[in-house]
Point group: C2
Chain length 412, copies 2
Amino acid sequence: MNRMKKYLSGSTLLFNLILLLLAFTGSTFAEENCQLRGTGDLGVVIERATGSVQIINTSSHSSLFRVEGLGDLSHASVVYSRDARYAYVFGRDGGLTKIDLLCGKLVKRIIQGGNSIGGAISQDGKLVAVSNYVPGGVKIFSADDLSLLADIPATRLSPQKADKDSDKQNSKTVGLVDAPGHRFVYTLYDTGEIWLLNVRNPEKPVITRFKNIGFHPYDGLLTPDGRYYIAGLFGEDGMALLDLWHPEKGVKRILDHYGRGDKKLPVYKMPHLEGWAIAGDQAFFPAVGHHEVLVANSKNWQIKKHIKVHGQPVFVMARPDAHQIWVNFAFPDNDTVQVIDPETYKVIKTITPGKGVLHMEFTPRGEQVWISVRDKNQIQVFDTETLEKVATLEATKPSGIFFTSRAHKTGL
Amino acid sequence: MNRMKKYLSGSTLLFNLILLLLAFTGSTFAEENCQLRGTGDLGVVIERATGSVQIINTSSHSSLFRVEGLGDLSHASVVYSRDARYAYVFGRDGGLTKIDLLCGKLVKRIIQGGNSIGGAISQDGKLVAVSNYVPGGVKIFSADDLSLLADIPATRLSPQKADKDSDKQNSKTVGLVDAPGHRFVYTLYDTGEIWLLNVRNPEKPVITRFKNIGFHPYDGLLTPDGRYYIAGLFGEDGMALLDLWHPEKGVKRILDHYGRGDKKLPVYKMPHLEGWAIAGDQAFFPAVGHHEVLVANSKNWQIKKHIKVHGQPVFVMARPDAHQIWVNFAFPDNDTVQVIDPETYKVIKTITPGKGVLHMEFTPRGEQVWISVRDKNQIQVFDTETLEKVATLEATKPSGIFFTSRAHKTGL
């Protein structure tokens, strides 16, 4: 009996010890997949067909995690939290998903609209904004828990244009970017407007409207210094420029001959404006419908050069030091990438990564570029000095590539 | 006996379970101070007098850790690893210290020279370089374990200049920066040279020498695009400019009237070149010995404006969007900071944080600026839009402030 007691008390002690240990390490078990590491060299690769993303490391050229269940990732884009731990993925289906890069898991996913394209994170990192086609407008969420903080419907459509039986009552919104001064900027496709939204107090956003900026603005970009917002026009030639240092001066037209011209090319040929490179006092961008990259003076927006290239350009991207311009192309030339010298305007290298080159992302200091090659199920990494391939990663139908250094940039 | 056996086997089982648990969680116990978090919003504050640093968080305006034992931190500077987890601190005493931001600990510290000023990290993040006064030259270390990979003595001094009884046999080196193309650039103070060092193969660094660039180059800067290296001359007026896109064109003289002029001001008045702001096509920088900020066209280096300010400027820094220029001042005006509008060149605000304003660092997207106020033992944080103070942190005689977003920048 004595022994029995001893046994019991001994085992109880041990058992309690175990309980204590378990309690002490509980959080560890819950986070057993998490990695204690810096987040400066991480990124997200979109796997469109499977609704998944990979979290990758640009130092070791490796994949850390795959996260699934992100819905329709056509034309998906990504922004990062201020601490570069979390990625916010904007899907085509109105999905907004917050992902933890260190633990490789989906933190929260909401369906915030019916049909959306693009989003942005505020200068202070506290607000995530999404621009919606349906219902037309912008919604602002807490970056912390994705709770809705503000719903800002776009201009109501006229009865002729609105669809009475659906929620297509307001203009589509597109081209949403963050801007200095706690602002967001975007365009209203159906009503031809630019809206400048001050969200210093997100519960009372202040809207400044610029009307009649042109017919069907379909996208927007912010220059890397955060000063100029430029909207592309689908319905006519030319672009609309807003100086955010002087919004009181209104919207100005630039590049009057830029656009579809008389050809009226089909919709899918209009290159999106993320595919523009503003490099110092030069802008490099795709000619619409032509096998050309155009070069303009970024002060006066006069076109100074037409560069003949391999196909219709999609993305025209400057290496971070602007000493090289990399270009990929639309189908059927989407197996090729070309590199342009920004001084001589000559193509210095033609690379053929394979069919389905969809996106390119430079490492923050530009020594390498990551290229998604959809039809080969590969990410290929090139050294930008030797222009040789240095690594290949597997990915399922990869499209967009987004590195965490974007957390520190304005206007993405 | 049977019970005894049972007791033993039961307790052995429990004991083994505990051992297993301990083994499983061993790494956790060892890292109990470490924080599982992103590193994008962290930074280091130098506490010069105590040879310590604080690791701070710019989102919560808080201090995570203090790390001690860093030696002489006069004029200390910091660069970051590619993943933004580690800080490399360069001390005046030749100390090179690697710090883990997530665990708040000193990873490794070496004394790599006798007297040094400044360092840099290579474009790929693999190499840390330090420029030394004594022994004059540059040493290259592995960013991983701080092992010495290359020792590159500077030009040997003439017998008249060298000190036979010490190791002052080679020119002092200063103004070390990283540049695109796996390069480092620095100046040789005693022999009036710029050296361009290609470290693609760190075991066989390739040196390109530019001689006779001017008398006593005392510091250097790289323009933010990584293209132009500019050396300041202590021994004469003017600056030396090297175009890294075209090193074959050699070094050019610019700003012929910039310098001490006829006044021959004392040494400590020469403002260091980290205190220059290249903002688009304008450069803002301190006039030597005058209560003025100078503005030059950054293409042709013609001075276009003299702005009267409160004292002798030390740091003239552009907010990341270049829409404000912040200036601090030398003793006895070092209690004041002024903000300049880069369009009107007017001082739009004068702030008095307190005696000993030594450094300023903007958050990556520019919504706030952190200012060290040595004599108040404070870091003060200002909102750059309202220009109001939003937070105060305690620090012991703080000097330099360095945020992790520097991991992604060239030429720091």
